[in-house]
């Protein structure tokens, strides 16, 4: 049967609630969680050559996590009331978990960084092990913020928290590669040539590790989309929105091709021995993950609800 022409003559659409600040906030917490995990891995392995990376990342994590919530507060309609979050908590709301996690995690991160910088290895290891679940929940809960807002088909999937975690790892490692490469290039002159060679190898190894996390991320994204395309009509609409709709250039172009496939080729392909390629790949990866946050947060809301 031919569908009759359908035109909406009048309807009210209210302004999209969550704007770019929220995506940006997800991006920063992701970076922070990713770099914290790398730092703890470096500390736990305890080998001397991992020290510089452990140190850089230990300081990056809390700094990024102090920037991140500022985005959240900027997004509030009543920023001066942000303390209501702590006074009038609601345990069924993921934002409440977040407000406590976002307080505990930077404090932990700062103490951990002090331990790393003052070379107290055992304390740093213990704090690191305790900190990893915290880092994971700080970022994992952001996935729950989207997943539990059940109105939006693009968000309301069980894969969302995991996708957020894995892409956090990807962008976090990317940032560490960039910072470590800057250090190697300009601030590492005192080291002996062998040591420099070793540092460079380490950075390249990190970049390869990043490529493997990208593969995991791609697998999750593809499975999420496949399920969206076979689920109910709203989910189909959400899937088509990012595959062929308004957000396709950002999703397919920037997130998948520019932010995942090209970096993977750069890091694992013929240029795998080049530091420049690793840095370019890391920058692209971060652009891709930022685009992913944007597509998820903003794209998810552009599907009309009525």
């Amino acid at each position: 049967m031919e569908q009759p022409d359908i035109n909406v003559v009048y309807n009210v659409k209210h302004q999209l609630p969550l704007i770019i600040y929220i995506g940006q906030y997800f991006f920063f917490t992701g970076l922070s969680a990713g770099s914290f995990v790398i730092s703890v891995i470096a500390t736990l392995l305890g080998r001397k050559e991992f020290k510089p990376i452990g140190k850089i990342t230990a300081i990056l994590a809390p700094i990024l996590l102090i920037i991140a919530p500022l985005n959240l507060i900027a997004d509030l309609e009543q920023p001066l009331r942000f303390w209501h979050l702590f006074l009038y908590y609601n345990w069924t709301s993921p934002i409440t978990y977040g407000s406590f996690l976002l307080t505990a995690y930077p404090i932990m991160g700062i103490i951990y960084a002090i331990m790393v910088y003052t070379n107290r290895q055992t304390a740093a290891k213990i704090l690191g092990i305790l900190g990893i679940p915290l880092a994971i929940s700080v970022h994992g809960y952001t996935g729950f913020i989207l997943a539990l807002a059940k109105a939006r088909a693009l968000w309301n999937t069980a894969a969302m928290p995991t996708i957020f975690l894995v892409s956090a790892m990807v962008s976090g490692i990317g940032l560490v590669v960039i910072v470590a490469a800057i250090r190697w290039k300009w601030f590492d002159k005192k080291a002996t040539p062998e040591q420099r060679e070793q540092d460079k190898r380490l950075i390249l190894q990190l970049a390869q590790f990043m490529a493997y996390t990208i593969m995991l991320d791609l697998f999750l994204v593809v499975s999420d989309i496949l399920v969206l395309l076979t689920a109910h009509s709203d989910a189909l609409e959400a899937g088509m929105l990012i595959l062929t709709g308004n957000f396709a250039p950002l999703f397919v172009g920037v997130e998948i091709i520019l932010g995942a496939l090209i970096p993977m080729v750069l890091v694992l392909g013929p240029t795998r021995k080049s530091l420049t390629a690793a840095v370019v790949a890391s920058i692209l990866v971060n652009i891709g993950v930022y685009a992913m946050r944007f597509v998820m947060v903003i794209g998810g809301q552009t599907i009309p609800l009525s």
Binding site: D5, I6, Y10, V12, Q15, A149, A151, L305
Partner: protein, 207 residues
Amino acid sequence: MAEKRYAMVIDVRRCISCFACSVACKAEMKVPLEVFATWLKIVEKGQDPNAQRFVLPRLCNNCGNPICTRNCPTRATWQREDGIVLVDQHRCIGCKYCIASCPYDVRYVNPLKNLVQKCYWCHHRLDAGLVPACVETCPTRALTFGDVNDPKSEVSKLLATSATQVLKKEMQTEPFVYYIGADEVAMSNVEEEINYYTESTLIKIRI
């Protein structure tokens, strides 16, 4: 007698799309320009001269299992015993998570006060023994309001004797706004996605 549980039954067959409910709501609740707590969605099927119009009055469902209450981080959104979902205007921080979570797009940010608001079924009028302003105004009595737990109330009788529908039952929010004779197309989202790039709200700096 059981506790009160308010509900609204909207007989769409009676609606003449006069927008009186929307106007009454604006006057009663001081709803600013740009935003609406209740409005009519009007859908046209077919081409002229055979086009048919279908209308659907829209408002907050004051759900039985409201996702907005569950997700509000400050408990600013809370539910009265009679089912009305309220937003505490002194407590709301404007995180807008409730707007993002509600499947019905009925909440809005009051642009003058920077606070989240919605339809409260005129709880101040109910407490004074009146019915909501929209129900009072509707010239065709398409809107009926009352207590579902009272078998003698008008809504209970309508619910018992007519075929009713609710919006997005699959969302598990248990809406308490029932429709009689609503069109299926008007009840679903038929529009293209909102083109975000042309909306001026991409980065709205608020001070």
